[in-house]
């Protein structure tokens, strides 16, 4: 899929993105665009492109001296790395956004808020005002290889961000997270260049899901491609990603929808987003919800069907983040079919089993009955 629109744009709508925008918008944003193209549901939003990041860096480090200094740090001097990285982060977060970037973000954010206001107004509620729409601000790494994928985990995500000023702050914070101590140390260890560094920042309408989690279009345990493995918890998936809960897990056959594995986890913490409070609210999970499955079998099967569509669209096994909406008024128009309540937050290629491969477990024999002998003829 080729890149659409002008590559030099500083801010672009997610719905306009595709796989070809990986370098300019980052992997997360590009995959969200692809999911939208595939007809799947993605929270509406926009991406602040790598071009915007480049503009900002050019403004605060015009000659690249700062980045040269980092590139020269010895990989094993963690003290020096820590000091230099902190300096860069402070510079990034303190500098105001370049005016052109700020203007485009403000415009895009206004459109997002207007959309939300329309939805709420249509449901007889007062629009909260365009600028007040709550969003998630998420780093979108521009690297392509699998090393970058695990590296992406080091970059920041901010949930429940309300108000334009806060959004602008969080965009800078995401950029600064490229200079986390761990990220810098990682790049130094691998000898990666500092000057080609880039990042997109995704800004999407914040969800308040009933349950959320991750799913793989093959078994992470056995590599079996005939199943979708789902992990889920109540509320936001961030509790699961952060390892605060033992999630519920389901293994669903892609072919029959049969649930071949089902384990109810012990979900002790709950992260939610409340429209009345910024950020994520983390509380102890109400006792009665801890040991209760957060998905019905039907929901697990529907998630698996969605996962299969994602896999088919990308043409390879995927690692997907998802959320299942419950009674979010802003999305109440979507109620009804389970599939319509499933929102996808990210999809990226599964890398572990893809790298391993599998040799055939049997090959054709002269006679079909030879299979019997070759298997039954061996010690058990």
């Amino acid at each position: 899929m080729e890149s659409s629109g002008a590559p030099t744009r500083l801010v672009r709508e997610i719905a306009d993105l595709g796989a070809g925008d990986l370098a300019s918008a980052g992997g997360k944003a590009a995959s969200l665009g692809e999911l939208t193209r595939a007809g799947l549901r993605v929270p509406p939003g926009y991406v602040v492109t790598a071009k915007a990041f480049a503009l900002a860096m050019a403004a605060l480090d015009p000659d690249g001296l700062l980045r040269d200094e980092i590139a020269r740090l010895p990989a094993d001097d963690l003290g020096a790395i820590g000091r230099a990285a902190a300096g860069v982060r402070a510079r990034i977060t303190a500098a105001p956004l370049p005016a052109s970037v700020a203007a485009e973000v403000t415009a895009a954010h206004g459109r997002l808020g207007a959309g939300a206001a329309e939805v709420t107004a249509a449901h007889g509620r007062l629009g909260a005002g365009a600028a007040a729409v709550a969003v998630a601000v998420r780093s979108s790494a521009t690297g392509e290889d699998s090393a970058e994928a695990s590296f992406a985990g080091l970059q920041d995500t901010y949930l429940g961000v309300g108000g334009l000023d806060a959004v602008l702050d969080r965009v800078r914070a995401c950029w600064a997270s490229l200079y986390n101590d761990e990220s810098v140390a990682y790049r130094r260890r691998l000898g990666l260049p500092e000057d080609g560094l880039g990042m997109g920042v995704v800004v999407q309408r914040m969800l308040s899901p009933r349950a959320a989690g991750v799913m793989f279009t093959r078994s992470p345990v056995t590599g079996d491609r005939s199943v979708v493995a789902i992990e889920a918890t109540w509320g936001l998936g961030s509790a699961l990603v952060a390892g605060e809960v033992t999630p519920d897990s389901f293994t669903v056959s892609k072919v029959t929808g049969e649930i071949t594995g089902r384990r109810v986890g012990s979900k002790l913490r709950l992260q939610t987003f409340l429209a009345s409070e910024p950020g994520v609210t983390a509380v102890a999970m109400p006792i009665e919800m801890r040991g209760r499955p957060c998905l019905t079998d039907d929901e697990a099967r529907t998630l698996a069907r969605v996962a299969r569509r994602v896999e088919e669209h990308f043409g390879s096994p995927q690692d997907i983040e998802w959320a299942l909406l419950g009674d979010d008024p802003a999305f109440s128009s979507l109620h009804g079919e389970t599939a319509d309540r499933i929102m996808l937050l990210q999809s990226r290629p599964e890398t572990v089993w893809a790298a391993r491969g599998r040799s055939p477990v049997a090959s054709p024999q002269p006679r079909a009955s030879d299979h019997i002998l070759s298997r039954l003829g061996k010690p058990l």
């Binding site: 892609k254 072919v255 029959t256 090959s363 054709p364 299979h371 039954l376």
Partner: protein, 603 residues
């Protein structure tokens, strides 16, 4: 594992105490079924699938004869490389079994060479051999049906003299009884003749599926194999047909819930040509399709539809009502076939290479080749032949009762077949000598005591297994036939008292009120949305599958008829629980987990 706690283990056979009130149980069974001291060294498991109840003395013939035939087939005829036969023992009336494996690689190699040639002959000529098999089995059924039980009248017929037969009827008492046992044995040899190879094809395909798709369930692999046109569906199809004819002919008013077969048949005779039309269709359906057992052919009290017409006449009113309101549908065979192909095709596409797909095609093809036999043999063997067999033994019981040796015909099933031999000798001698048989004083107290002991043995809870925990239990035949795996053994070792464990036969989890039926005659009681809990789901139970939410049985395995039907209806099913009908009461809320094979009472 906690070092201070001793590892869980199973009782040793020698540690089993006699069930209270049934201390004399050994007297019911032959010496070769008793546990020996050295049996403590081996792992045994309770064959609850085939023998969920304490064994009446005669019914042990359904263990003795099949194990004699199965072992002969695997160890001696086809020379399976890694397994000899199955040994069985009886303790407190329950049948425990163990397979004797071959583990020496050299010995396996020697056997494999022989097995390859012999097995290939059957697989390569399967369809032709199955046609011949059916003819031989029909002949055996004809033979058992033709056996007569001599009446032993006061004087022999004149023809015995004029035709110079020279042999009096009392001779045929023993000869004909022996023929019953001998034919039963032959039937079981033919039963295993193709069955073990059939299961071999399943085992190999299931193993392949598990390697290629570690998360696949046996149930899903089975769905790729299942044949659509198999005769085990015929009895139920015949009932649907009879319901349609009743409505067409205008005699449907006679088929009401709770109707008595005798009254309906008598009333039909008075309904002119319409009644005759239905009765003619009924006679046609009856032979052979009403020879279907209400059980699975392992106990004498599993009667056939032909023996007890209340079963089909309980189902008929429901089908008649469905014909009237237009809701009676035939099995959607085309949709079932299409779904089976879709599942197989999609799994096939997920394989890693064309090479692997080629192997998959061969193995699946072999399974589908053997499937009709594996499914249909049950109708010929366990249902048709065995119903006739038990009927003949009952007739011999009638003879013994007529001569006063037994109080009633049914008591014959309290005697081992070798004991019946003795009792018949007694009658033969008494008839010849003109005096009374001596058996009344001998056998009647024995029968009464055995009935009392069997009742006491029902209260004994058999441990699921005995002897040392095996390091690895990967026997594919044991897994395929009995659903026993390493996980099963783990679950047995750490029993969860609130869980009723069986074999997950059809996936899904549902909750609903239980309807416990101990007899198929009660199927009229089942209400929509209930969970059927029954001893065994043979084809006789088919009429309720459209009504229920899930099925739970005491007996059955993953390729059992119940499992296949439940998968077709998309109902969760747990089979082979051993005692669900005793642990669940009608009206209790239960949760059926057809994936893991667990049933729980939840309210």
């Amino acid at each position: 594992m906690d070092g201070n706690e001793s590892a869980p283990r199973f009782p040793l056979p020698s540690e089993i105490a006699d069930a209270p009130g049934a201390e004399g149980w050994r007297s019911m069974y032959p010496y070769f079924t008793r546990f020996q001291p050295e049996d403590d060294q081996r792992f045994w498991f309770y064959n609850s699938m085939h023998f969920p109840e304490p064994m009446p003395a005669f019914d042990t013939v359904t263990a003795e004869v099949p194990y004699s035939a199965i072992g002969a087939n695997t160890a001696r005829v086809f020379v399976f490389p890694t397994t000899l036969g199955i040994e069985h023992r009886i303790v407190n009336g329950r049948v425990y079994i163990t397979a004797i494996p071959v583990t020496d690689p050299e010995e396996i190699g020697r056997r494999a060479a022989i097995f390859g040639e012999r097995a290939a002959h059957y697989y390569e000529n399967w369809d032709a051999l199955y046609e011949g098999w059916k003819l031989r089995m029909r002949a055996l059924i004809g033979e058992i049906e033709s056996i007569t039980v001599p009446e032993l009248p006061e004087f022999e017929d004149l023809e015995v003299v004029t035709e110079a037969r020279g042999v009096a009827q009392n001779h045929y008492v023993r000869e004909n009884f022996h023929r019953c046992i001998d034919l039963f044995s032959k039937m079981w040899h033919h039963h295993t003749e193709m069955l073990m190879l059939g299961y071999g094809a399943y085992v190999v395909f299931f193993q392949f599926c598990q390697q290629a798709f570690p998360e696949i369930s046996d149930q899903t692999a089975a769905r790729m194999v299942a044949g659509i046109d198999v005769i085990m569906y015929r009895p139920d199809d015949e009932l649907r047909k009879l319901a349609r004819i009743a409505v067409q002919a205008g005699v449907d008013d006679l088929f009401t819930e709770g109707c008595s077969p005798d009254e309906v048949l008598a009333a039909l005779a008075d309904r002119g040509s319409a009644g005759q039309t239905w009765l003619a269709a009924f006679e046609q359906a009856r032979e052979p399709w009403f020879n279907v057992s209400t059980g699975d052919g392992f106990y004498h009290h599993h009667r056939s539809w032909a023996d007890d017409l209340t079963v089909p006449f309980t189902a008929l009113p429901r089908y008649v009502a469905q014909v009237r309101d237009g809701s009676l549908a035939d099995r959607p065979t085309e949709a079932l076939r299409a779904e089976r192909e879709r599942i197989a095709t999609e799994y096939r596409e997920l394989l890693v290479s064309e090479e692997e797909r080629g192997a998959f095609d061969q193995m699946l093809g072999l399974c589908r080749l053997v499937f009709p036999f594996v499914e249909d043999h049950k109708f010929y063997c366990e249902h048709w032949f065995t119903s006739q067999f038990f009927g003949k033994i009952r007739e011999f019981g009638g003879l013994l009762a007529r001569f006063g040796v037994l109080a009633e015909a049914e008591d014959v099933f309290q005697l081992h077949h070798t004991e019946i031999d003795q009792a018949l000798s007694d009658v033969m001698l008494a008839w010849a000598a003109g005096g009374p048989p001596l058996g009344a004083a001998h056998w009647r107290p024995i029968v009464a005591e055995r009935k009392r002991m069997l009742a006491a043995l029902r209260d004994w809870s058999p441990p699921p297994a005995l002897g040392p925990v095996p390091e690895a239990l990967n026997d594919p035949a044991v897994r395929m036939l009995w659903g026993v795996t390493q996980q099963t053994i783990e679950a047995w070792l750490r029993p969860d008292e609130s869980a009723i464990r069986g074999f997950g036969a059809s996936s899904g989890i549902v909750e609903g009120p239980a309807r416990v039926l101990t007899d198929v005659n009660q199927i009229g009681e089942v209400r929509d949305g209930e969970i059927l809990v029954c001893p065994v789901t043979a084809p006789s139970w088919a009429p309720v599958f459209g009504k229920i939410k899930a099925a739970v049985s005491d007996i059955g395995g993953s390729m059992s008829h119940a499992a296949i039907v439940a998968r077709e209806y998309g109902l969760p099913a747990v089979v082979g629980t051993g005692d669900a009908t005793k642990r669940i009461r009608t009206g209790q809320l239960v949760r059926v987990d057809g994936d893991r094979g667990i049933v729980r009472v939840i309210g």
